[in-house]
């Protein structure tokens, strides 16, 4: 028996008819908002990486410009804020507009609210934020560089997201929620709680005390916004694409709660060996190690759900999220290790950390987001879709990102080595240069990847996405999956 998201029975059929197409396209989904946010995401992504590429070129050719608007620091601010809000923010919203109705069996609160949210997010937060930073209005706090006037609207937008996406879940009742829903609820609520702490409090609390708050937000931005929503996508796409339930609902829920218990306790690991009381540092370092254990648990569950699909499944959304899962494991284990004092004292402040953040934001979050957008896009009946271009996007991004991360990681080790010697400071800069060049070159591959992704969304025949789904391989008929795999959430307890 096959059921759609509302719990109503859908007649199984092998030949696509108009009726089943409509079911596949998820009737409760407001496709125009999926489309709008998906397209905005990729456009914003191009702008955000342009800032990053320009900044990386300025490291190699620092005299290329002395225009205040294009100062390295300002570009750096806009790069990360653009990735966080412009790219990932829009990508998550596109996914939510598809997933929330399917998961809850109910429409999102209001389409009109959705249009307002789209407008605020893009035209009041991201674009003005970028321009204000370039014009010299910003705050020098990591992951919080947009000026406070923009932060007010971010909080407003987060509040609107809660209003838009959470009521459908609560209307359904929490005992019926799949783990993706939990991640969506957790991600939106905790981001709303954490955001003001990182963006307003350090303006009011000075120096070392403010840094303690900043440290929490640096980690919460990634841990409570990016990670839960990326995991929501991965947990959603894997069963939807394979046609099999997740390996274990018990592990899903255990991983979910451990993540929300442990992630906020990590923040101080950004300031190890600082004047912040050592007990707080040690607590955060311990939580960082435990977080790695939790991620092993989550990823084991995801990879077991993926078994039999091969390393590179034909279904591209599945391939994107599968690869994202592997990178999630690598980046989290790396994070647990680099939080440890012996490693941290050497690699902290170096390009190793820049490699780590790219592994997290590109390898994990972007792969997941691309999987989520592609999955939702395929199910818009009137949208164009080009599977071939998507395949290129996958390989170009995997290649480009791997080169970038490996280059920066080695570069970071070289810097750490130079700083530990008595060589003049500038010798470390000289030694780092080739690795920065590698980073800039690898960015070229990444641009091509995103261009292919854009082509995947805008070229190809209309409705090609649905056709792709019809041709997709079902990995394991449901009848052969053991009863254990069909275990319900309540049996986990």
């Amino acid at each position: 028996m096959i059921l759609n998201g509302t719990g109503n029975q859908v007649p199984p059929t092998n030949s696509p008819t108009e009726e089943t197409s409509a079911h596949r396209a998820a009737p409760l989904v407001e496709s125009s908002l999926v489309y709008a946010h998906g397209l905005a995401a990729i456009i914003m992504l191009f702008i955000a990486i342009s800032f990053g590429i320009l900044a990386s070129i300025e490291l190699l050719l620092p005299d290329i410009t002395s225009l205040p608007w294009l100062t390295w620091g300002r570009l750096r601010y806009d790069h990360t804020q653009g990735i966080l809000f412009g790219w990932l923010g829009n990508a998550f919203l596109a996914f939510l507009y598809h997933a929330v109705p399917v998961l809850s069996g109910r429409r999102v609160t209001s389409v009109r609210l959705g249009r307002w949210l789209f407008g605020i997010w893009n035209f009041v937060v991201v674009i003005p934020g970028w321009l204000l930073v370039l014009a010299g209005f910003s705050q020098p706090l990591e992951w919080a560089e947009f000026p406070m006037v923009v932060d007010v609207f971010v909080v407003l937008a987060l509040l609107l997201m809660v209003i838009q996406f959470l009521p459908p879940f609560f209307a359904r009742g929490i005992e019926d929620l799949y783990v993706s829903s939990w991640y969506i609820i957790g991600g939106l609520i905790f981001t709303l709680l954490a955001y003001p702490m990182g963006n307003f409090v350090p303006e009011l609390v000075p120096g070392a005390r403010g840094a303690a708050f900043s440290g929490l937000w640096i980690h919460d931005a990634v841990g409570l916004f990016v990670t839960p929503l990326a995991l929501a996508i991965i947990y959603y796409v894997i069963p939807a694409a394979t046609g099999r339930p997740i390996y274990s609902h018990f592990l899903s829920m255990l991983g979910f709660w451990l993540l929300f218990f442990l992630y906020p306790l990590n923040g101080t690991h950004h300031y190890v060996f600082s004047v912040i009381p050592m007990n707080a540092q040690l607590g955060a370092i311990t939580a960082s190690a435990l977080l790695g254990v939790d991620v092993i648990l989550v990823v084991a569950n995801l990879l077991l759900s993926l078994r039999g699909t091969g390393w590179f499944p034909q279904d591209l959304p599945l391939r994107f999220v599968g690869t994202g899962t592997v990178f999630y494991l690598i980046v989290s284990i790396q994070g647990s290790i680099q939080a440890q004092m012996a490693v941290n004292q050497a690699v902290h402040f170096s390009d190793w950390v820049i490699g780590h953040s790219h592994l997290a934001m590109v390898g994990f979050a972007t792969f997941a987001a691309m999987g989520g957008i592609t999955h939702a896009w395929q199910r818009i009946p009137w949208a164009r879709y080009n599977n071939h271009a998507m395949g290129f996007a996958y390989w170009l991004l995997a290649g480009g990102m791997s080169i970038m991360v490996i280059g920066l990681t080695i570069g970071g080790l070289v810097e750490a080595h130079m700083w530990g010697s008595n060589a003049p400071w500038l010798d470390a800069v000289r030694e780092a240069r080739p690795y920065w060049a590698v980073r800039s070159y690898s960015a070229f591959l990444i641009v091509l990847a995103f261009f292919a992704f854009l082509m995947g969304l805008l070229t190809g025949p209309k409705g090609a996405g649905l056709a792709e789904i019809d041709g997709a391989k079902v990995f394991e008929p449901e009848e052969t999956v053991g009863p254990r795999l069909a275990m319900g959430a309540e049996e986990a307890l």
Binding site: L3, N4, G7, P12, N14, R24, E58, P62, S66, W72, G73, R74, P140, L141, I174, E175, D176, L177, Y178, V179, S180, G186, F190, P206, G207, G210, S214, G215, Y235, Y236, V237, A240, T242, G243, R244, I246, W257, F260, F261, L262, G267, H270, V272, F273, S274, V275, I276, P277, A284, H348, F349, V353, G420, P424, W425, L426, D427, R433, A489, E490
Partner: protein, 428 residues
């Protein structure tokens, strides 16, 4: 059967749970509610344990250990701080010396909580492309700062810092308000701790009550408060250098010295031409004894833009000294009569000895009043042409004034010839 027809969880909780007893649904709901409350609880705990509680400890430390009247920023320094934030300086330069020996040997004493008490918002930073700036105060001369800001590579070869020439009116000598404010702010970094002096350190150590806290104790056991290897010292150790490896020296010179002193030591590097006052020494027109070079390399020239190179090894310093000496080519000088030398000696005694000392050792009675120590005329010798130029035109940016109208040409010539006898031939 198509995969796409599945709901994402591959099953319908609705259908499964509908068959369950109301009890099991209730248990499930309760456990989720408990977990949700715990989740929020853990978040609140994270803020309390990792931000609020450390904040209370840090505030207590600040109250106890801070000097009674730490200097808050002036309006100009505050504007400079805003510029520092706006341009993203904190994303390449940390302002936090960690409690690690590797940090302490490079940058000095670890940062204490009270040192950042006026920082709204904090500028600790998490990345070091450039060096840490927590102890920048007094580490470089003003004109070095301006020149560096205007054109970083003019004074720091291969630096990757962006040029901030938009903060100037076309040359490093003409900073706009932004550049003045920013440099004023840089001069505050570490200033309070330095001003507090040994008494301040003693007070902080006592108030800290942290005798058993090995980490915090490190803050008071730093080898130097400001260990910036570039910081100049007026007095300091003079390593005894030996004739070094010229090849190695030339490579080091090209990396570290040529941007100011020029590729051939003629003082015409981009930094030399840009805006340093005094200009970098013309090494090709100077004969230097080893101990002069040893002092300058190890301690810098205080009051000028010549930084110290303490982080270089003895072998490297020897190689550099060898290179500098190789630029000078002795030129034959016309013979000089005893009358001229006597005249020179008289003029010297009347006009030069207050600063340069009776024997030319740079130890005249006025030295303590001078920002830049006068040249020790027995430690090295400029070429005759350079000596005459200096006497006629003075040295820009130093107290060495032009003597043209006050001394006649003959007197200038005489004193130039006389000073050349101060360095005993046998010491060369």
């Amino acid at each position: 059967m198509s995969a796409s027809q599945q709901p994402p969880d591959g099953q319908s909780p609705d259908s499964k749970l509908q068959g369950r007893s109301p009890d099991s649904r209730k248990t499930l709901r309760m456990s989720y509610i408990v977990a949700s409350v715990c989740g929020v609880g853990f978040f609140v705990m994270s803020v309390l344990l990792l931000a609020v509680w450390p904040g209370i400890v840090l505030e207590k430390q600040t109250q106890a250990m801070s000097p009674a009247h730490p200097l808050d920023l002036t309006p100009s320094e505050r504007r400079g701080r805003e510029i520092y934030g706006r341009e993203g300086c904190a994303y390449c330069h940390t302002q936090q010396v960690r409690y690690l020996h590797s940090d302490m040997t490079r940058f000095g004493a670890p940062t204490l909580a009270w040192e950042t008490r006026f920082d709204y918002p904090q500028l600790w930073g998490t990345r070091r492309i450039g060096p840490d700036l927590a102890r920048e105060s007094g580490s470089h001369s003003m004109d070095w700062q301006f020149t560096h800001l205007y054109s970083p590579r003019a004074v720091a070869a291969d630096s990757v810092m962006p040029p901030f020439s938009a903060m100037f009116d076309g040359s490093p000598d003409r900073p706009k308000q932004d550049a003045r404010d920013l440099v004023a702010y840089l001069e505050t970094l570490g200033r309070d701790r330095e001003l507090a002096g040994p008494e301040g350190e003693a007070h902080a150590r006592e108030a800290c009550k942290c005798d058993n806290d090995e980490m915090t104790q490190m803050a008071f056991h730093a080898p130097e408060l400001n260990a910036n290897p570039r910081k100049t010292r007026r007095k300091g150790p003079v390593p005894s250098l030996l004739p070094g490896d010229l090849g190695r020296g030339k490579a080091l010179y090209a990396h570290n010295c040529a941007s100011c002193h020029g590729a051939k030591g003629e003082g015409d590097g981009p930094g030399g031409l840009a805006g340093l006052h005094p200009p970098p020494a013309n090494l090709a027109e100077h004969f230097y004894r080893y101990n002069r070079l040893a002092f300058a390399l190890a301690n810098g020239i205080d009051g000028t833009s010549m930084p110290a190179w303490r982080d270089l090894s003895f072998v490297d310093l020897s190689a550099l000294a060898e290179t500098v000496r190789s630029f000078y080519v002795e030129k034959p000088e016309p013979p000089v009569s005893k009358e001229v030398l006597d005249l020179g000696a008289r003029v010297y005694k009347e006009n030069c000895a207050q600063c340069h000392g009776p024997e030319g050792a740079g130890d005249g009675t006025a030295v303590s009043q001078l920002q830049i120590v006068p040249a020790d005329l027995r430690d090295g010798r400029a070429s005759l042409e350079l000596t005459l130029r200096v006497l006629r035109n003075g040295v820009d940016g130093t107290q060495m004034a032009p003597w043209t109208p006050r001394l006649s040409d003959a007197e200038i010539e005489a004193v130039a010839r006389y000073t050349r006898t101060l360095l005993p031939r046998q010491l060369e």
